[in-house]
């Protein structure tokens, strides 16, 4: 059932509030409230008092004018943080308040003397139920004027919520977290942006996606609120003519957005840049890319078999997001939040991981991060969207000098999409620490390494033209005399990530580059925090 956003107003909460007089807010589950119960009865007897009781409607028994603040609407609207709170209303508006129990304060505030004979002079109060973490999200969703205006969808009472979400076509094939108003309100707390702000215009339906719609999908994807700025930034990175999300959907090639997160935020939100960096087991890695893909699906209407025409696709299209090893990081540990680490992998900061060694720390310090390819300073919180296929392993367990290892990389990179096709596709070369230190220990920067690999991919057009080597595929005949590198200038991006043990790297091939295809896009995250 669809209905407009509900949301009670302050007027509803004002029910029971006297125009003039004293109001107390209490709960039975508070020793100080129990303590002052006789005082409240005394005040009622001497003047006028209305007591809002948060938990037990029968409390305090000795007071007649009790109002049960069952939905905590009064407490929420009047920002009650402590019980007991004693307030005075003049002409229907609050004219003052005190919290906790202090005899002199209460006497001065009420104008009654000799309050609470026999009670201690002072007792601090307890937390109001309306600020209890168990209720606060629901209250924010209900009363908050949080700006949530998404249509409410009510499932049937006999309907399983999870099945109902699949039935409505919202899922990528995996279970979804039901996006209740409470959960969406909590997600919205992850950004300072207003819920109704438009983040991006999403292909293929070219529908505006608000912060709220992004939050709904981020909840479904399983994100935590602290991931949300990364989701919003990543969404802006793909929804533009440069990245060309529409083309990436519509292509028959097996590509989707691959997100690389740089900057301290990656560590702050617990992303994995180490063991099994492209694999399962880390919530942030697994859900951020998924949230963007769910937005493309649900807000943009980009669904496989409809506008998404990929012949084969690739598993990373569920969501593909990871962090890079940056200066001082250790790539050895898997940043896993599943609680399922083995003992050898557990550990906190750099160097504490079981399999870390000093050379990894030096390797981490040796290369500047990917975001510098796009003009950002190292240490900037960024997310780079790369139009990519799935990763393919590069094995070289024998090269100990950088030239030999660069030749291995060049040979592996030449195979992207087709060994005889050049210049049309960019690539990420993900270099794991056991490989990166071969370059770094010889003083090769990331740029120098990429440059040398580019040189080594350069081949004679005669080897690459159509028909050469008995293979029909290849570059046009007129290029036979040219020397052709595999990548256009700036088309090869080295990324430093992976576990500390293993002489491996990985190639992530790109989609058609340039104006007709997609360009990688790097955006700053902090504006979305």
């Amino acid at each position: 059932m669809a209905s407009s956003a509900d949301g009670n107003t302050a007027n509803d909460a004002a029910a029971g509030v006297p125009q003039n007089g004293l109001v107390a807010v209490v709960k039975r589950d508070c020793p100080t409230c129990e303590l002052v119960a006789p005082v409240l009865a005394d005040i009622e007897a001497r003047g006028s008092l209305t007591v809002f009781t948060q938990d037990d409607p029968a409390f305090p028994e000795a007071v007649a004018a009790r109002v049960h603040d069952a939905d905590l609407g009064f407490s929420w609207h009047y920002d009650i943080e402590t019980v007991p709170t004693l307030m005075r209303f003049d002409d229907g508006a609050e004219a003052g308040r005190i919290v906790g129990w202090s005899r002199p304060e209460w006497e001065s505030f009420t104008g009654f003397d000799s309050l609470g004979d026999g009670l201690p002079e002072h007792r601090p109060g307890c937390g109001s139920l309306s600020v209890d973490p168990a209720h606060v999200d629901a209250l924010e969703a209900r009363f908050g004027g949080s700006g949530m205006s998404a249509r409410r969808v009510e499932f049937g009472s006999q309907e399983d919520a999870h099945e109902a979400m699949f039935d409505r076509g919202w899922s990528d094939g995996l279970p979804l977290v039901p996006p209740t108003a409470e959960r969406v309100a909590a997600m919205l707390a992850g950004t300072s942006r207003a819920p109704n702000e438009v983040v991006a215009n999403v292909a293929p339906d070219l529908a505006d996606c608000t912060v709220e719609k992004a939050a709904v999908n981020a909840v479904m994807a399983g994100c935590r609120p602290e991931y949300f700025p990364v989701v919003l930034a990543a969404l802006t990175a793909v929804c533009n003519n440069t990245f060309n999300m529409h083309g990436m959907l519509a292509t028959t090639m097996p590509v989707g957005p691959v997100f690389v997160v740089n900057g301290p935020i990656a560590r702050q939100i617990g992303m994995n840049n180490g063991i099994n960096v492209f694999g399962q087991g880390n919530r942030a890695n697994s859900t951020i890319g998924r949230a963007v893909q769910l937005i493309v699906r649900n807000v943009g209407g980009g669904r496989p078999g409809e506008v998404d025409r990929a012949a084969l696709g690739q598993p990373g299209k569920v969501g593909f997001c990871f962090a890079e090893i940056e200066g001082g990081d250790s790539g050895a540990k898997a940043a896993s939040d599943s609680g399922g680490r083995s003992g050898g992998q557990a550990g906190g900061g750099a160097g504490s991981a079981g399999s870390a060694d000093s050379s990894e720390a030096s390797a981490g310090a040796g290369w500047d991060p990917l975001c510098t390819d796009f003009g950002f300073e190292a240490g900037t919180n960024t997310v780079t969207a790369f139009p990519g296929e799935g990763p393919r392993s590069v094995v070289d367990q024998l090269s100990r000098d950088p030239e030999s290892l660069a030749r291995t990389m060049a040979t592996a990179l030449n195979a992207i999409h087709h060994p005889k096709l050049v210049l049309g596709f960019d690539a990420i070369l993900a270099v794991a620490p056991d490989h990166s230190r071969v370059f770094i220990d010889s003083g090769w920067t990331r740029q120098q390494t990429a440059e040398r690999i580019n040189e080594l991919t350069t081949r004679s057009g005669s080897e690459l033209v159509r028909g050469a080597g008995g293979i029909a595929e290849g570059v046009p005949e007129f290029l036979a005399e040219a020397d052709l590198p595999k990548f256009r200038e700036g088309g090869l991006h080295l990324v430093h990530c992976g576990g500390g043990a293993g002489l491996f790297s990985a190639v992530i091939g790109g989609w058609v580059n340039g104006e007709v295809g997609a360009q990688p896009v790097c955006v700053e995250i902090d504006p979305w925090r």
Binding site: R168, W170, T180, A207
Partner: protein, 92 residues
Amino acid sequence: MSTVVLDPTNEAAPAHRERVTRPDSLDGLTVGLLDISKPRGDRFLNRLEERLTERGLRVERYSKPTFTKPAPVDLRHEIATKCDVVIEALAD
């Protein structure tokens, strides 16, 4: 208690799934008669079957094991596969 969630889509489509369009005529269609196993529902459906058969329509009879629970998925599938329209007897 039913779950209420926020719509993750661009809200271009209605929140409700559309019902199948009603046929203009029953001619040539197969009519399923689903007895939900409430008392005397069968009388109502027997009479309907007579009337529909008189008109030359093909009728398939079904019944739920119990009116207290949704029809089993296999039964729903069989009805959806074999019938063009369904009359469910809610008579008591």
